[in-house]
Subunit: 262 residues, 2 copies
């Protein structure tokens, strides 16, 4: 197995770019699953693994999983431990890095016949919120998520970690024009609910969600953009009793997922 | 009005300590409400304001609120704009800092007769989660929150900001021994539900919460400590359909609050 000890090695430079640059991830269609837990989830969910990198010490410490990774990955490399401080995005690196392909999700995957519960995000920008929402959508059995332009990158290391592996299990469809996508969904029989701070809207918990539906959550500060909201057949309000003016976007999405999927 | 331009001024040193040290907040019983929004909420909620500090520029820019603050605070100071980089905890400081007294909440405030919906936290450590939970509890009209030892400090700048003012409206009772407090609550007629990853527990959404109840949420990684869980009359599980093993603690608390207060 090839050993790499220089940070100037082209493969190491590319690995670091994939950890730190959304543009690099987008152009290559790859991302990095770092650490034992993420590597296990990548194996379990059948992700395509292009390359795996392991430090001497830690590939030995996690020998079982390292061996599986070497079998599944197209290429495997041993790297010097000293490189980790350049590569790792966590405080306690575990010396295992998998370059995985972003799973391709098509309109067909999302719009299948029958019961479908979907969540769409419009310009949701906080990585922590995005990670939380992906984890909740997986937990409640949503059938997929749609990310419009302007959302945080779900394959960034921070989002990936906070999803606790849910990112690999949930179908996530990234679309260039969310308004057009919602229009197409409604033509395919979906009811579309835009979450809005409008007390005259439909009240969450007081109506049943139909079998085919999509709920839309907007940006943390500004809500859903007017263009996207105008494509939603319904608006949806989460009733509040106190004086708080709004909920955290991750909480709002989680409550809607809970009611939608129950 | 006294002008302060030195970072070595005792009042400035104390202000910085209150921004950065939990110990200083605990010993003095005070915290800092920074910025226009927080100052407005502090005024509106009738907090005791000991001191207010305003930079030349910004106290002028926000003249209306600055005047109200000067009337309500025991002491008011103009400070040099250059001091802000030492004092402020945000990226775009607004030049207004109020030293407020932590509201005193007693057992009587929390245990009042009649309908009471309470949330208790056991060693919840993430400031972002704590802020989110306080905001949600206020939004759904919970009657109070109980924080055990080991929780993040709700008066830290980060938590305070993320509550969006809800911290000033909600009754928050900090207790040294959560297990003992829960025992006392149950003697006062409360049903106590500990959230646990136990599928044999009561399922959220499948039973009605009684009029007097307290739900307990535990630490992000370890859940509720065994000692505290043994004091809960019931355990509570949030049913999950997907393969996710758990929910974010802030999401779990929010879902329980939604069901408890609906």
């Amino acid at each position: 197995m090839e050993q790499i000890s220089s940070k100037d090695n082209e493969k190491i430079k590319q690995l670091i770019k994939l950890q730190t640059s959304r543009k690099a991830r987008r152009e290559s269609g790859c991302f990095v699953a770092e650490g034992v837990r993420m590597a296990q989830e990548a194996l379990r969910c059948g992700l395509q693994i292009r390359r795996v990198f392991g430090t001497q010490d830690n590939a030995g410490k996690y020998a079982g999983i390292w061996e599986q990774l070497c079998q599944r990955a197209q290429e495997a490399y041993r790297i010097a431990g000293a490189l980790e401080e350049k590569i790792s995005q966590v405080q306690s690196p575990q010396g295992i890095y998998c370059v995985c392909e972003v799973p391709q999700v098509s309109q067909q995957d999302i719009l299948q016949q029958g019961e479908r519960k979907l969540l769409a995000l419009d310009c949701l920008q906080d990585p922590g919120n995005l990670g939380t929402i992906i984890r909740t959508a997986d937990a409640f059995g949503a059938d997929g998520m749609i990310l419009g332009e302007g959302c945080a990158d779900c394959y960034s290391p921070k989002v990936l970690r906070s999803t606790m592996g849910s990112l690999f299990r949930l179908k996530i469809w990234t679309v260039p024009d969310l308004a057009a996508t919602l229009t197409a969904l409604q033509q395919a029989g979906f009811c579309c609910y835009g979450a809005a701070l409008d007390e005259t809207a439909l009240q969450l918990g007081e109506f049943p969600f139909p079998k085919r539906c999509v709920a839309v959550i907007g940006n943390e500060g500004n809500g859903i953009s007017p263009e996207v909201l105008s494509c939603c057949g319904h608006t949806l309000y989460i009733p509040m009793k106190g004086e708080a003016e709004s909920l955290n976007a991750g909480v709002a999405a989680s409550l809607i997922l809970w009611e939608m999927c129950r």
